[in-house]
Symmetry: D2
């Protein structure tokens, strides 16, 4: 069983295309709802660990893992929706045409890459 | 944002095809490794909540969600492997031919349904 | 083996939010490349049928099915990228603010729903 | 747009663990049904190419791509089910205990790897 570490990235300085820290993101207005959903997912993962610890039937554990994966997909889709509607569309309001085109391309590519990571 | 509850199923009496509680499952010998992995996934989910709370960039959050989904897939695959190798193959050792065929069919269908839920 | 029919939708009149038929879509400039990729995918599916017909080993067939699924994912991602960059961003150029907000919401929701169908 | 070629593997000599060509695979009894399904999927892919050629709306194309992906998943699951029920369980009937354990391990690993490729 491989146990490759997937680390949470360290906070970084915002790049040229990234919003400044004080800027609102698409999801900010739903922040509390996201935090509640993630809290629940955290509890579900803990529930799966408990099932393993109590030697529950593998198929029942797999069902729970599928449920958590689905809940994470729903969170992802919400983030994608707010990202496109906020950050990508926001880039379209840049007045300078050249910078606008570049920023849109960058944001769209970034969003598509993120969606691609979800599909894999 | 829909927040449908995905509850961890209540402990049930084992059905006729389910192993008795004292029986070992396929994953039992790797139990500690699974518990460590799930502990780490739980920490990753908590890390995502922290990122949301600290208004981190949506794309970075999506990357972490994709990483957790991948880690859950790896756990699922491990469970599937041990389930097939242990529970399905175990059914093949049932001496009564009629009961053996029925049990194998049941176990294989159950495993495939579980894999189908992971694919969706 | 269920064989539910998944039909190609009949051509429809464009709805109020849909582009008129003469309008270009995001993918139009890459049309030939998409057609080549789809031609190749069609050939891959035919190759899988041939493998089944020639009683090839199930695992080798599964590997090819996974390759086709991956190729379709790549096509999807390309379409999503061009859709966001063209249709969604295009909606942001609507001069009337109320109509702009509505169109963006509609387009973003539509794109996210399409991504959700890919994830499932 | 990357267009990496995913080639159908050339016919190979069966390896030591592979069934001889005259042996039946799990899916053989449903061969005609699989061929019909794959024929339909091939037609769906052709339908998608037609939609691209006729400049149909990107979202409608994405919906069809998702439908084909789902149809391929269903084919995969059928193959996985028959593979586990036939090839993996078949390995369990090998009389020599050492060879049986090795063959089961090999078959289960092979099946799990194939499932892993579908999940990615």
């Amino acid at each position: 069983m491989s146990e490759s570490e997937v680390s949470v990235p360290a906070p970084q300085e915002p790049g040229p295309m990234e919003p400044a820290p004080h800027e609102q993101h698409g999801y900010t207005s739903n922040k509390d709802a996201y935090l509640r959903r993630l809290k629940r997912i955290e509890g579900q993962v803990r529930g799966i660990a408990r099932m393993v610890d109590e030697d529950k039937y593998c198929i029942d554990i797999l069902t729970q893992v599928a449920a958590v994966t689905k809940a994470l997909h729903a969170v992802s889709l919400g983030l994608v929706e707010e990202h496109i509607g906020h950050c990508v569309v926001g880039a379209a309001s840049e007045p300078d045409p050249k910078l606008r085109a570049e920023t849109i391309d960058f944001k769209v590519k970034e969003a598509t890459d993120a969606i691609g990571r979800l599909l894999r």
